[in-house]
Amino acid sequence: MTHDRRAFIKSTAMAAATSLAAKHTFAADPPSGPPVPPGGNELPQVPGVVWNKAPCRFCGTGCHVQVGVKDGRVVAVTGDRQAEVNKGLLCVKGYHTGMILYGQDRLRTPMLRKNGQLVPISWEEAINVIAERINASPETFAFYGSGQWTIPEGYAANKFMKGGLANNHIEPNARLCMASAVTGYISTYGVDEPYNCFDDLDHCDVLLLWGNNFAEMHPVLFSRVVDRRLRGEKVTLIDLTTRTTRTSQQSDHVMLMQPQSDLAIANCIANQLIERNAWDKEFVTKHCNFRGPGSPQTLMGEPISLEQYQSSVADYTVEKVAQISGLSVEQLRLLGDVFADKNKKITSLWCMGMNQHTQGTAINNLVHAIHLLSGHWGKIGDGPQSLTGQPSACGTVRETGTLAHALPGDLRVDDEKGRHITEDIWKLPPGRINPKPGYHTVQLWEKFCSPSSAEGAINTIWVQVTNPGQSLPNLSKLFDKKAELADKFLIVSDVYPTATTALADLVLPSALWVEKNGMFGNSERRTQQWFRMVEPPGEARDDCWQILAVAHRLLELGHAGMKDRDGQFIFQQLDENTQQVPVWDWSQYYRINVDERLYEEYRAFSNIKHKHLAPYSELVKSRGLRWPVVEQADGTYQETRYRFVEGSDPFVKPGSGFQFYHSVTKDDKAFLWFRPYVPPPEMPDSEYPFWLDTGRVLEHWHTGTMTMRVPQLRRAMPTAYVEINREDATALGVRNGERVKLTTRRGELTLVAWVDGRASCPPGHVFVPFFDEQKLINLLTLEAHCPFSKEPDYKKCAVRITKIT
């Protein structure tokens, strides 16, 4: 009894100390405006050039740029020195962003396929074609969008589909990119998105990269870490990777692991923490519930006891995991040492390596778990954080809910309450929203590539701001089959001809980046806004306008779903004299700021799960603000750097230190997961003896549609290649620069071999970048996906390599 009381007093005292410490940490480092960089805050002065802010068009880092405009054209781009994310620095893609607008083959007019040829048509005809096609069969229509949709575009598309057509077949390409991070966050903390932010990179002592070529994929953030070394700070980089990259070159420890073994490595770290009695009992007891996978595994699993947890991870001894992973026992012990050290601040980062994974949810759960277990959580520089590859995978897809099961604000279509809230905000008659989730991406394209007579077939897809003809896995099965099916109809809104427009029946020319108003949300919960600065070329028009125009045409055709419960158009906008603004008429579209209207309507959703978005007017003034952005007593708005952490997150109950207020078990605790190692579905064998990994390179972004039109970037990296180990090349008799054929169970592709190039694969592994539309590596990749996130694994399948003689 005395013992219990003493323990209680001790734990209370420690909790008080922890919360004080937490407060102190955050108070000591207030967000007191952006630091002034060397060289000052001046912008270059060039006569006639007007500068304006915008987030970069490319990745999820969310750098801000200043765009120089002269005579209606972008003439320069410079890093925005007031931006906290990039502090004035950009990467080579960022510096050349302005040039993506000016590729000679910009799409300038709508085109309809007639007798096999795409021929120019008017916008009116184009909008009619789409509306009539949807009206004829609304339930076989699907929308396929993107993490590059702006927030208002994604919101409008989602409302159009789920609120207007009562059809949930709307998916984003982000399903292929960060869906596993989403399920990872939801099944750990009960609510999506990183709790922490990039400030961690300025403070961590150890940076642990989980299958993430950080130097090439998020170069500005990478610099933010490695440049600290020049200031005399010590930061240890651990590169847990399947190939040696530019990131490895700057890392202190390069740990080459076997594909999929990240699951075993994470469990091995947990096991070492338990064995050494180095886990944070205080933190875990107060803030975590142990969770097991269940049998069979489910997304939310089942509760387990500490003993069950201990016995589950006990299997993952360093010796056994050394066998599975290819890491040495010493390397595994080093990882154990790092997490056992309470005095070091550890930041774990990951992107596609952990997300494009057939056990993507599981590995996300496990990396959160080892941080929670070791107590390396919730302090600046000390915690796990996922990165995104697209500029608005977070802001648009995750927050406005453009996924087949989701509604804005983290609500779900299969949850009655979520539907009611949504119908209420959208002023829809009750029961309008379909409770059945739509098809996820792989399913959606399978259904599009099935004959129309087949059960549940999809007949029409409208693609915006993405290029599935290049980025889907197993392309012959999921995309190219469309060519054989005459009654399928593919609508593509894009800025350049792509592998997707090649099979399109209707092509719509879109406005790009600063040719329209826009908003993005980067991967640290930062909502960003920009204004249109130049006119789009030819007849290109905003994607958002395209959606509103089709919706209005459907209204004219008598589609009941386009009216709200008061009989008004679901996208009705009134001017200051309460007169309807015909936003479906392009000449009137910019009479009001449609972005602001849609965003302010959508903002109501963000308060439901404490994701308070800042008012549009606040975003105009800032270089993005990290939600929740909460109004203060004096009328100012305060952003939040760390959620669930007292002293930073205003929603945390005072005195609790940490509070997971959206906990699945409703007890303010996070789930501390055990998930087992599961071998990958396809592994090298005698017939297909190599591992095939795919990914990006520094110069190109995604499918290269934009960056391949920038000569500087194209010349530096003009073609896809196969990165192959010197030993393997020698055994195959392949010299540098010679052509080889790659064959998997799904397809084959001829590529040039690159030995000892920019990066290097270990023997038995090859790597191919996916940016080159003339060398579609996704003809070879596997569509097997994570059972919960439905995200396919582009990182591992079995391939055969033969020399071309």
């Binding site: 060289g39 001046e42 120089g68 003439v75 000016y102 170069p219 700057q250 020698t730 010299r735 040039v752």
Partner: protein, 277 residues
């Protein structure tokens, strides 16, 4: 005489470069130092070298012919105006004055004297600025790298660009922002040193801004104000110092506190507050 020396040196260079993979090659070039003093040791040494080379040759001979060469094919020219060289040694050959050295460490000492007269004409200046513009998409874009890079580390960039080197008429300027270390994040090659098959080639109609100079002088004889942004340029001497393109070198390199006389112009001081967003 000078020319012969140069050619002799070149031959040694070639020998060094062909034998670079063999550890014995460095010893062989040191050998002449021993020649006059100790003939017997010299004979032993030469024999050892010959045997060593023969042994290495034998090993090379028995290796399978299919070993991939470590140097990939010659890079393509970025465009007709941006000169590209195959390797560091050939940098010297592209210039008018041939410099009889090949080692970067020796080149580092080849700097003009601090007080030597600097000739500068408007023509030279225009040339220097044109040369500068060749490797930039617009004024303000990070310059491209007009030579192959080995991709290995910042240290390999800094071998030349930490101090700056003049090789013939080409200049490796010294880094003007030494607080950044991930060089290839911003600076990429003008043409690839990797695979280069026919690519999707689409013309780009972007027309970037040009340089903003020359700097305004308040009165005849006043020092000109800085005609460009100083952002990311913490060191004026990286472009204007002793190791710099001829036309934009300072005529008074012994004065090192540049901003004492050359002010950022009032126009340049455009703060964020004065622009709309």
């Amino acid at each position: 005489m000078r020319r012969t020396d140069y050619e002799n040196n070149l031959r040694i260079d070639e020998m060094k470069s062909t034998n670079r993979s063999s550890p014995s090659s460095n010893d062989s070039s040191d050998a002449p130092a021993n020649v006059t003093t100790k003939p017997s040791r010299w004979i032993t040494f030469v024999c050892a070298c010959i045997m060593g080379l023969a042994f290495v040759g034998f090993l090379l001979g028995i290796r399978p012919q299919s070993t991939p060469p470590s140097v990939s094919k010659a890079p393509e020219m970025a465009d007709s105006t941006a000169a590209t060289v195959k390797d560091y040694r050939s940098l010297g050959k592209t210039g008018a004055s041939r410099i009889p050295v090949s080692l970067i460490s020796e080149l580092k000492f080849l700097k003009p004297d601090l007080f030597s007269k600097v000739d500068r004409t408007d023509e030279m200046k225009a040339d220097a600025l044109a040369d500068r513009a060749k490797v930039r998409a617009y004024d303000g874009a990070p310059p491209m790298v007009p030579h192959p890079i080995d991709q290995q580390s910042a240290a390999s960039c800094l071998a030349c660009h930490a101090q700056g080197i003049v090789i013939g008429q080409r200049v490796a300027t010294r880094i003007s922002h030494p607080h950044y270390t991930s060089c290839t994040q911003c600076h990429i090659e003008t043409s690839t040193s990797g695979p280069n098959e026919p690519a999707l080639v689409v013309e780009n109609e972007f027309a970037g801004i040009d340089r903003s100079g020359p700097g305004v002088r308040a009165l005849v004889g006043s020092p000109p104000v800085i005609p460009h942004t100083t952002w990311m340029r913490t060191d004026c001497l990286s472009c204007h110092g002793l190791v710099a393109r001829a036309g934009i070198r300072t005529t008074h390199p012994w004065l090192s506190n540049c901003q004492q006389c050359h002010a950022p112009s009032a126009e340049l001081d455009q703060k964020y507050a004065s622009i709309p967003h």
